[in-house]
């Protein structure tokens, strides 16, 4: 493994301080509503969000932001405009800001706060990475965080939860490869239920997570 790949793995690992653990992407709400109640329903929900929701959308945005000559200010504005609710906007921008801050500190490069996929792309660009690899690591990080939350809050056994994650890895690899080849015209989501869960989460009286 070359050092650039190892560097990306470091940045996109759950240990990297983006504060991801505080954001459940609406999962806290769907667990409370009962729509996610076991390993099978978690896998279904996560697979849908990856393929038809924020997973695909962030993957395409990352690919666009890794293209030579990409206009990162415009893509960042788009990434923010595409967020469907107050908490989801916060999830993307606050993690993006924390990510940029830490990479800036490590690499001594000035990195402005941006929505997370754009912040990751901006940090990764000098490494000339394979876009499919960055997107796969990004989506794996996203899925790992949500599986970890589900293990504690559904709850699920560690083995059961990580088996869900393991089953999602081949589809994540395929999804990342598709997203890496995608253009602006391929943007789009259909996770209306997940978006509404994120909106409902705002009105939940007791919230452990910020989304």
């Amino acid at each position: 493994m070359d050092s650039a790949t190892l560097q990306l793995t470091h940045w996109l690992s759950p240990a990297f301080p983006t504060g991801a653990f505080a954001y459940s992407h609406g999962l806290e709400q769907v667990i409370a509503q009962g729509a996610v109640s076991d390993a099978a329903s978690l896998e279904h929900w996560l697979s849908d969000v990856l393929h038809h929701g924020a997973g695909w959308q962030d993957g395409v945005l990352l690919a666009l932001a890794l293209e030579p000559g990409a206009d990162l200010d415009t893509l960042d504005a788009m990434a923010q405009a595409l967020q469907p609710s107050a908490e989801r906007l916060q999830e993307s921008t606050e993690q993006g800001a924390a990510f940029a801050r830490t990479v800036a500190r490590i690499t001594a490069r000035p990195l402005p706060p941006r929505a997370l996929p754009i912040a990751v792309a901006e940090a990764a660009r000098p490494l000339n990475p394979d876009p499919a690899q960055v997107i796969a690591l990004y989506l794996q990080g996203f899925a790992t965080n949500l599986v970890t939350i589900a293990i504690r809050h559904v709850p699920l056994g560690q083995g059961e939860g990580h088996a869900v994650l393991a089953r999602l890895l081949p589809p994540i690899t395929a999804l990342a490869a598709r997203a890496a080849r995608a253009g602006m015209e391929d943007l789009g989501t259909a996770c209306l239920g997940a978006d509404m869960a994120a909106m409902d989460h705002e009105t939940k009286e007791v919230r452990l997570f910020r989304t």
């Binding site: 788009m78 469907p84 609710s85 107050a86 789009g188 259909a190 209306l192 239920g193 994120a198």
Partner: protein
């Protein structure tokens, strides 16, 4: 050119309508009207004028093209809608393309309240709605998409429908949503459509949009309709979903009565 392509070109319908308005003596006046092909724009005069767009081809199918455009000069407050639900029929091949463009000038306000878009099985279409707001312009937009007609026992299992909704303030994206329905997306569970037949999105883009959040949430109470709302970054976003189009329409009517003063567009009332 093969025979199939020849037939498609012959059958292909095309339409474009553009209406432009300006304020004169504090009255909104029609300044420009261009219509071609299957598209018409009808202006219903009155103290609160309305524009009703109409597609005389009676629906869209593969490779059809329909464009509606509006220009609102400074200070114009206007409601625009469509005369009836837009039907997107089974495509014999190719995508129907729909373009909606609006330029909303300084201090102007647009209510873009088209009636439902009904997708039939095997519908293939791409719609792009782009609303450009001047720095202090405001806008309310509502889009409803219905998958087949429940009363006719229709089920939509196959479609390729992409619906871009873009609101910009200045040249900067303020709100974007891209609904992308494909066969796999139609089969989604709780994260997606979960078997519902009607979905809607309502967006209010205005500096004080967040003030309406409380009353909007309180109005999301029609039986059989799931609704949720969020206010952030100069926009209020409301999503609705229902097993069928009718309760969703009742909820939409109730919601619009909270979001805008005065009666509904006249064509909505029949």
């Amino acid at each position: 050119m093969n025979a199939q392509a020849g037939i498609e070109q012959l059958q292909r319908s095309k339409g474009a309508a553009h209406a432009g308005f300006a304020l004169s003596d504090r009255r909104i006046c029609l300044r420009e009207l261009h219509q071609s092909g299957s598209a018409k724009a009808i202006v219903l005069p009155g103290p609160a004028p309305e524009v009703v767009f109409l597609n005389t081809s009676g629906g869209l199918t593969g490779c059809d093209r329909l464009d509606y455009a509006l220009t609102l000069g400074p200070g114009c407050h206007l409601t625009a809608t469509t005369q009836t639900a837009e039907r997107i029929y089974r495509s014999p091949g190719g995508l129907a393309q729909i373009g909606v463009r609006a330029q909303v000038g300084a201090g102007a306000h647009l209510d873009w309240l088209p009636q439902e878009t009904i997708l039939f099985d095997h519908a293939a279409a791409r719609r792009r709605t782009e609303i450009d707001l001047a720095p202090d312009a405001t806008c309310l937009m509502a889009e409803t998409v219905v998958l087949g007609r429940a009363a006719m026992g229709e089920r939509v299992a196959r479609t390729a429908f992409t619906d871009w909704r873009i609101l910009r303030r200045g040249a900067v994206p303020l709100h974007m949503e891209v609904l992308r329905l494909c066969d796999a997306a139609l089969r989604m569970g709780a994260a997606g459509l979960d078997g519902v037949r009607a979905v809607a999105s309502v967006i209010l883009a205005a500096p004080g949009a967040a003030d309406a959040l409380g009353p909007v949430r309180a109005s999301l109470d029609v039986d059989g309709v799931r609704g949720a709302a969020s206010a952030f970054a100069g926009r209020l976003v409301i999503r609705l979903m229902a097993a069928d189009a009718w309760p969703l329409r009742l909820q939409m009517v109730r919601l619009l009565s909270v979001l805008r003063p005065g009666p509904l567009p006249r064509v909505w009332q029949c």
